[in-house]
Symmetry: C2
């Protein structure tokens, strides 16, 4: 069985109290309108900052601010297993995604395929 993965998103995470400030800034900085959806009120979606890379601003309960990246995969469990074998640590699950830390402590997530055309064109295949 093979699976595939690809860097798919950059997310600016800020305390919830600073969410609107961060959304306003990054929307103007990148020239992308911010979209909110009722299902995920903690996010603002700025679309693709450059083709194939989505950009989001997330209001969190954590300390912040920080930036994290999402890796999309057609097999989230296989990708998490591959990355933990490389030294990452799973630290949580939320909806369909898995939150990990790299061996130094950097937080990132593995998510389902988000940008299908870029995934099909550019994902890396893992044996």
């Amino acid at each position: 069985m093979t699976h595939r993965s690809r860097l798919t998103a950059v997310l600016v995470d800020v305390p919830a109290s600073d969410h609107d400030t961060a959304i306003t800034f990054w929307s103007a900085a990148l020239g992308k309108p911010a979209n909110r959806v009722d299902k995920y009120p903690e996010y603002a979606f700025l679309g693709q900052a450059t083709p194939g890379i989505e950009f989001m601003v997330q209001g969190t309960g954590d300390d912040g601010p920080r930036i994290h990246i999402d890796i999309e995969s057609d097999d989230v469990e296989a990708e998490v297993a591959r990355l933990t074998a490389l030294g990452a640590t799973e630290i949580g699950r939320h909806n369909s995604w898995v939150i990990l830390r790299d061996p130094v402590g950097t937080v990132f997530c593995v998510v389902r395929v988000q940008v299908q055309d870029a995934f099909d064109a550019h994902a890396t295949t893992w044996d």
Copy 2:
């Protein structure tokens, strides 16, 4: 006068003592060989994680780890002026790039054009 800018890079910043660990992990995680150059020993260049987005692992003297993003521009000074007018704060300069914080505190940089073909195709024009 107009200028242009575009999201061009994602950088994982780690304490210098963890640099090799982070390079090994992210090179394997993304399936990209890490290249070092004598001029910039604090960086490892993993090429384009997906077309148009360069990925680097930086050993810093800061606390870490963190991820930061680079915005490339054909006029660094004009882009810094635009972003500071939006509420960012300049916090440093290093070689040809400028280090800023967004209004919430997220660190990012404005750099010269790094990926010319993607810049030409996808940069946003600011009046």
